[in-house]
Amino acid sequence: MTGPEVAIILFLVVLLPFLPLFLFWGIGAWGERRHMRSILAREAELRGFPVSNLRRPPAGCRDGFLVAGSVVLSADAWKTMLAGFRKIFGGRFRSIEPVLERARREAVLRMLEEARAAGADAVHNVRLETANLSSTQSLMIEVIAYGTAVKFAK
């Protein structure tokens, strides 16, 4: 065997196990960008809808009722692997921070969409709960957003 052939075989042997991971990285990144675009578009649509985590709704509100939104989100294998390295070296988990952020924003959006569909004018006392559902190393989180939807007194 000549030099270049050996180099190619070595290259393939070393890199081949990692190829699927690069593929997951691509799919995961694409999915993340798509989700983020959807979140930004829906947030823009809801701009001006009053939402707060004030414990007492301001005066002039009536007809309070509970609204909630939830989402279960998982990280891709690439992110999970990066997080695995992070656990060894310490520091900021940059790869999975966006996953939690997207989950929270998505849950809040679903809650607000439910409130608006029910004819509410505002949502107060919003609470966010995060739960880890994964029984393995991978990240699988559930976020619940809930609050009290109110109507303005006429």
Partner: protein
Amino acid sequence: MTDKDLILTNTETLPGYRITAHLGLVQGNTIRAKHIGRDIMAGLKNIVGGEIKGYTELLTEARREATERMVRQARELGADAVVNVRFATSSVMQGAAELFAYGTAVKVERE
């Protein structure tokens, strides 16, 4: 106040109403297995990332059930509303999630 429209809020007061009596803590819970029929899809999603819609639906349904149980308890006490409702999810054992809802049952009258 009629019996059937029991109001739920997570604020300590009820906008537009005055609380006349506190009837105590009411709660409801349910424990669901996560891995019935949906584990293949969830396994795939753990590789490529993204929302696991099957689980979102499962947990939403479970939370509704927990809320219903809480409401039933409140009705037995003769409450008009449940205020300061809190939701929580906990992984009680591998492969199972517990959802519970709790709040304070109250009697109210319109202001």
